[in-house]
């Protein structure tokens, strides 16, 4: 199991995967918006999206868990 975490503080702009979807290593899971920039957050390893912990528009702090991948 891997936790995908926010690399910096910002708001969730887009969620690019769905629960149950297969993802590859380095595939973007969500895109944050911070400092007026798009910040893609990718899965470190391949797996299946088990849970999404955030919704679009949510504020996340650095280190917050965004998704869980198995």
């Amino acid at each position: 199991m891997q936790e995908v975490k926010a690399s910096m503080a910002g708001s969730v702009w887009k969620i690019t995967v769905q629960v149950g979807e297969q993802v590859e290593a380095d595939q973007d899971v969500v895109i944050l918006e911070s400092m007026k920039m798009e910040i893609p957050i990718a899965a470190e390893e391949a797996g299946t999206v088990k849970e999404l912990k955030v919704a679009e528009g949510d504020f996340v702090n650095e280190g917050d868990v965004i998704a869980i991948i198995e």
Partner: protein
């Protein structure tokens, strides 16, 4: 037994290091014997070795647990000290410390690089009076390292533990390479942490290679094997001169790798969309010449050695792919050391800017982002090597300053046509100036108003306007960027400036 035979027997015994059981234990962990490491490191092994017979009157302390000598890397002589962990876990006795001090003194006299191959449990407590507190005790090793810093390159390869005081050897080196799984650095062991402060933690978590190379920044390069560490050291040194008096040697001229997509193709039009800065770096440097430093630590800023037209350059580049390329306290800290490293050894600097600014918010203010940012600016400002700043896309606020903006005496500040220089981006600026006005407008009129004001703002910071004001020195076609850099770096080679006169600045650390 003839005296020659006695000598031969003694040499043979010492060369074997510690007991077979310790060799086996090391082998299980994928650790090589110290003499094997030196064979791989040097062109032709250690060529001269001093105090080989140190502590030879003791039964079980061959060379007192450390090999010191000189060998050649890429044909250049280099001093080395290498712990032997088969001898009392590589611990330091009186003679171990004296040997390390002497080889450092040799490196100072000969003005050649100093390598530290560390694999040591720390001090031999039983020998402490002889090896710890005195003038030629272990403290002297660090004193010498500090003195050697910037005179000759100092490299640390960490193969095993580097504990307590020993952890300062890597701390004072220019670069620290750590072998994943075996290398560690810590002031107090997990056992001590549990006893003294009540913390239960594993060694890997507290002081492992991965942690240090990605979180603390005490490690620079994470490698999978000892061979990889040794090869990295050879490659790394090829970018450096043997000492601060000399210039780095140029490599045989190489061409740039051919890519299907050009620089124009890889830079997105939308300033806020990410792209991979490595793709741009690869298109301007010589093929296969990138040697990254601190790849895993603060990856929103890329630092690495490379060659352009065969000559060494140090690259500092924002990475929009990570954290939007925003500068954080850790990335500023990373940049400061890398800039100092390059400047110390006459390696010209290339800044590639695509930066929304320094990070804001409670978390980074508490981490001291202002003083860490100041440290980066100070290092960049003081660097007297040829310094080129390229504005790739946005360079907002203090981000422009940190990336060797025009006020910091770069030899030139170049802009690609995609460059955007401003205090802040259009979205933030319109909001800052017109927030009240926008709020007063009927909701359906707001988007059009915002859009119009953003366009006006973009026109106001048009790159040709900045070129007209001579803020930037040239606007470059991305396809000619490599050629432009080659020409300019070559012409700047005779640069000879002294930053200022004083004893030394007071560094904002």
């Amino acid at each position: 037994m003839s005296y020659q035979e006695e000598l031969r027997n003694r040499i043979e015994k010492i060369e074997q290091g510690g007991k077979a059981a310790y060799h086996e234990k090391n082998e299980e962990k994928g650790k090589l014997f110290v003499r094997k490491r030196l064979e791989i490191l040097f062109d032709e092994g250690v060529e001269i070795e001093d105090a080989f017979f140190a502590n030879c009157m003791a039964e079980d302390l061959p060379s007192d647990g450390v090999v010191t000598g000189i060998g050649k890397i890429n044909g250049q002589p280099v001093c080395v000290m290498a712990n032997d962990s088969t001898v009392k876990a590589g611990s330091w006795g009186k003679r171990t410390v004296e040997k390390i001090i002497r080889i450092q003194e040799t490196a100072e006299k000969l003005e050649i690089p100093m390598l530290y191959l560390v694999d040591s449990a720390g001090a031999r407590i039983t020998d402490q009076i002889e090896m710890f507190p005195g003038r030629r005790g272990a403290g002297r090793i660090f004193h010498n390292q500090i003195k050697l810093s910037g005179r000759v390159p100092q490299i640390c390869l960490l193969f095993g533990p580097s504990a307590a005081g020993g952890a300062y050897i890597p701390a004072f080196c220019d670069i620290v390479v750590m072998v994943d799984g075996n290398a560690s650095m810590y002031l107090g062991s997990p056992r001590m942490a549990e006893m003294v402060i009540g913390e239960k933690v594993s060694l890997e978590e507290m002081g492992g290679a991965n942690m240090h190379c990605s979180v603390s920044g005490c490690g620079d390069v994470l490698v999978k094997s000892e061979e990889e560490a040794l090869h990295y050291a050879r490659t790394y040194l090829s970018y450096f001169p043997p000492n601060f008096r000399k210039q780095p040697e140029a490599a045989a001229n190489k061409d740039v790798k051919a890519f299907e997509k050009s620089i124009v193709d890889i830079i997105p039009e939308n300033q806020n969309a990410p792209f991979n800065m490595h793709d741009l770096i690869q298109r301007i440097i010589d093929e296969d010449s990138f040697c990254e430093v601190k790849k895993k630590f603060a990856p929103e800023l890329i630092t690495g050695l490379a060659r352009i037209n065969g000559k060494s350059v140090g690259i500092i580049a924002n990475q929009p792919r990570m954290k939007g390329g925003v500068l954080f306290h850790d990335s500023a800290d990373k940049a400061a050391k890398f800039i100092q490293l390059c400047d110390a050894f006459h390696i010209p600097l290339l800044f590639l800017a695509d930066i929304p600014g320094f990070m804001i918010g409670t978390k980074v203010e508490r981490a001291g982002i202002i003083r860490h940012g100041a440290k980066m600016l100070a290092a960049m400002s003081e660097a007297t090597v040829p310094k080129i700043s390229v504005i790739v896309r946005k360079a907002y606020g203090a981000g422009l300053y940190a990336m060797a903006g025009p006020a910091f005496e770069p030899d030139c500040c170049l802009a690609l046509p995609t460059a955007q220089i401003a205090v802040m981006g259009p979205e933030a600026a319109v909001n800052a100036v017109y927030a009240n006005k926008i709020a007063a407008l009927p909701e359906d009129e707001r988007p059009a108003f915002i859009k119009r004001k953003q366009e006006e703002y973009r026109d106001d910071i048009d790159i040709y306007r900045l070129a007209s004001e001579m803020v930037i020195d040239a606007v470059i076609d991305p396809e000619n960027l490599r050629q432009e850099l080659m020409t300019r770096f070559e012409l700047y080679e005779s640069k000879n400036v002294h930053f200022t006169e004083r004893k030394h600045g007071v560094y904002p650390v």
